[in-house]
């Protein structure tokens, strides 16, 4: 089974990701930003698929697009948006912003030129059929400890959020 039109899909998805990322920061309406972010996340899921990582792609859709972003929207809709819409965008921060962007861009270019040797030219391709199993084995085998620490961290975050949000328990 040979992949069809791979370069086309790659550039299409990459462009979509970039475009939606730009929309996220340029849209005045926060709900529109969030929707653009969802589009970007979905495009990323497509990129994961092209990397033969369907499990990651599926999780990306379920967790980010279907779960987290819905909660984002949930909160954004309840907050009064009208004030933020009237405010001028990139208010007095354009200088700092552009400096940071230039620095980050320079770093990326430097790494790309100088550090090519750091990256393997091609990774070993995992069989698509056993992709999910491999993820599972790695997570619950080799990286068991970090995985559990991450979950503990999330638990702490949840409790913190509850305590902060609820005035009277």
């Amino acid at each position: 089974m040979t992949p069809v039109a791979t370069p086309f899909f790659f550039y299409f998805l990459a462009a979509l990701t970039l475009l939606s990322a730009i929309l996220v920061i340029t849209q005045k309406n926060a709900v529109h930003s969030a929707l653009a972010l969802i589009l970007g996340l979905l495009a990323q899921a497509g990129l994961y698929l092209m990397l033969y990582a369907p499990f990651v792609a599926g999780v990306q859709i379920i967790l980010y697009a279907g779960g987290i972003m819905v909660l984002f929207l949930f909160v954004i809709m309840l907050v009064n948006l009208e004030r933020s819409q009237k405010e001028e965008q990139f208010n007095r921060q354009w200088l700092v912003g552009s400096l940071a962007a230039t620095a980050l861009g320079g770093l990326l270019v430097a790494v790309f030129i100088k550090g090519k040797a750091l990256f393997p030219t091609s990774s070993t391709q995992i069989a698509e059929a056993s992709n999910t199993q491999q993820v599972g084995e790695l997570l619950y085998g080799q990286y068991m400890f970090p995985f559990e620490i991450a979950s503990l961290l999330l638990l702490v975050a949840i409790i913190g959020a509850v305590v902060m949000a609820k005035k009277r328990i």
Partner: protein, 384 residues
């Protein structure tokens, strides 16, 4: 005591301008056009999330000045108007009015007329309770009982139609008795009806009484204590569900009610579920009364001798009956002329609706709908 909150007018209430995290109140306007407010009731809800902080009822959309009309019509001419108040239980309205004027005139309706009045009024109570059950269940989301109750209510309306030609606003009674003798087969029709309905009521109860969701939606919802009921003047099934065994048919019997043997069902908790149970029991008791009345229907005249032009002596009288919604009273002042000097209607729905605020405080939006349903109000009567 349900202190009514200081009232900014709806326009002043405005929109909550605080942000989500420190905002407490949301003003939601329900009605006057809303599927669950049973007519043109407007309820302004003050919410904290889904929790109700308070409600304000805005009524009067259906105000027609019935009392003013009464002062400008003769006693006889005003009789059909009262049917338009609680149009779901028009027969009860007529009964109350006719009995009050009879009292003023010192006329007693003949025994047969009283029996016919009891039969029709109790049939009407059944019809009213059936309509209540259907719409109340529909408000809570159970769609099917509505159709079942309408099927059986139809039979009652058919009897009305055969008796007096009208189905809803019947104008069944006249001052001094009944205008119409029963039609041929009236007793058979009523008997058949009384025989068929108990299984139908079992059917409604099978759908709802032990339905888990129904119980969860109605138990401990809209609780009101007996003391609060008395203080607010709430009567009818709502009062009885709070544990007060008081029914005007027993306490101060009118028409022929003292001839019949029936129970006053009472509840214990005064919540929506108890009110449901009380009304279901009341339907069965009504059937009991109808059966006794139709079996013992006496022979005789149906109309007392009343003057063609009614001029009751100057004086005033208050008389009330147990309408399906509660105490329906008429206070009539006569100045000796052909027209009442003042007609005051004491509408049960109006007084009961006052308890809404007390009953829904601290509950959820969905409960407001359940409580409006369980109060069994008819806006025609609230606004008059």
């Amino acid at each position: 005591m349900p202190d009514s909150t200081p009232h900014p007018s709806p326009l002043e209430l405005g929109t909550p301008d605080k942000t989500f995290l420190d905002s407490n109140e949301l003003i939601l306007n329900m009605g006057p056009q809303h599927p669950a407010t049973h007519g043109v009731l407007r309820v302004i809800l003050k919410l904290d999330g889904e929790k109700v902080l308070g409600v304000e009822c805005v009524i009067g959309y259906l105000h027609r000045g019935v009392e003013k009309i009464g002062e400008n019509r003769t006693y006889t001419m005003f009789n059909p108007y009262v049917d338009r108040m609680d149009y779901v239980a028009a027969v009860s309205n007529g009964l109350g009015y006719c009995e009050t004027v009879e009292k003023l005139l010192q006329v007693e309706a003949p025994r047969r007329a009283n029996y016919i009045r009891v039969i029709l009024t109790e049939l009407n109570r059944l019809a009213s309770h059936m309509l209540w059950l259907g719409t109340h269940a529909l408000d809570i989301g159970a769609m099917t009982p509505l159709f079942y109750t309408f099927r059986d209510r139809e039979e009652i309306l058919k009897i009305f139609e055969k008796y007096c030609g009208a189905r809803l606003t019947t104008h069944a009674f006249r001052i001094g008795g009944c205008q119409y003798e029963t039609y041929d087969g009236f007793e058979r029709d009523v008997k058949t009806f009384v025989d068929c309905v108990p299984p139908k009521i079992d059917e409604y109860e099978a759908l709802l009484t032990s339905n888990r969701i129904w119980v969860e939606r109605t138990k401990n919802v809209g609780k009101i204590s007996a003391a609060d009921c008395k203080a607010l003047g709430v009567t009818g099934p709502v009062l009885r569900a709070s544990g007060v065994k008081w029914d005007i048919r027993k306490a101060l019997p009118y028409a022929a009610y003292s001839d019949f043997d029936f129970e006053i069902p009472v509840g214990a908790n005064g919540d929506t579920y108890d009110r449901y149970l009380v009304r279901m029991q009341e339907m069965r008791q009504s059937l009991r009364i109808i059966r006794q009345a139709v079996e013992g229907l006496p022979e005789g005249p149906i109309m007392a001798k009343v003057p063609k032009v009614m001029k009751p002596p100057a004086g005033e009288v208050y008389h009330s009956i147990e309408a399906p919604k509660g105490e329906l009273g008429y206070f009539i002042v006569s100045d000796g002329s052909t027209q009442p000097y003042r007609v005051r209607v004491r509408p049960p729905s109006f007084v009961n609706l006052q308890a809404l605020d007390l009953m829904v405080r601290g509950q959820l939006v969905a409960d407001v709908i359940a409580v409006i349903g369980t109060l069994d109000i008819v806006l025609g009567e609230v606004d008059r």
